[in-house]
Symmetry: C2
Subunit: 121 residues, 2 copies
DNA sequence: GCAACATATGAGCATCTGTTCATATGTTCA
DNA sequence: TGAACATATGAACAGATGCTCATATGTTGC
């Protein structure tokens, strides 16, 4: 058994129980993509943001209405909206004094729908 | 304009810019479901766990091989596998001294595929 | 311009999260 | 049974995260 000396206790030995340890690297997306992907799902990984998305799934709404119906602070909503917008899950348009937010594309509902399917099993 | 006195600066006034603030409550899943959904997506919201899932997407693997190919500590992998298993994204079986992990169902790849579609735009 | 409304933003704080380290549990084989 | 291998787990710590509070920016109508 070969010995690797990288100082990590997890990799002091090299063996292949399933013989698959090295092939997957070709399949694995590069680090940047993996990070982006994780960042994307992180958006869905908070019940506040999920609630915002559910609200916008039904109707476009201004910040004020979102805060009101979700029983949240305007500031808290605004902070989360910024995150959702950075990830391009939502867009907005100004309408007078208000800014109306809406879902950006169909991926949002697709992803959530898949998630719901999973937890309903 | 009605005044609510709940002490939150976000909801001191009640108005309906879009007129949709109260209808969505019928559509919104209950708190438990929302929490479960967020917990599920939280699993995908970490690049380590995403990498584990990608690895298992290709081949079932033991903890040791995962740690080796992902260049992680055995302990770190094991901790994350526990989380993924709790959320029923993966299952395992014992095979001699090793424990082989694999994806639990097709939802995992569906969800990740949707995520990839989104970030590739 | 100014007052009222609507939203955005930065700092501070408490909580959550992922890793490491040490160690416990479980399996195989001699 | 004991030694080596394989995995799991708990405590502790550092970094990330979401909220609040105060305040800044931007819009409308007088």
């Amino acid at each position: 058994m070969a010995i690797k000396e990288n100082g990590k206790n997890a990799a002091v030995h090299v063996h292949e129980h399933t013989g698959n340890a090295h092939e997957l690297k070709n399949l694995m997306p590069d680090e940047d993509k993996l990070y982006d992907l994780a960042e994307l799902f992180k958006c869905f990984g908070d019940s506040t943001r999920i609630r915002i998305l559910f609200a916008l799934f039904e109707n476009e709404m201004c910040v004020c209405d979102l805060a009101d119906s979700l029983n949240m602070t305007q500031s808290a909503v605004s902070h989360q909206l910024k995150i959702l917008k950075q990830m391009k899950l939502i867009t907005n348009r100004r309408e007078g004094k208000s800014i109306i937010y809406m879902l950006a594309d169909s991926h949002v509902s697709s992803i959530i729908a898949q998630g719901i399917e999973h937890i309903l099993e």
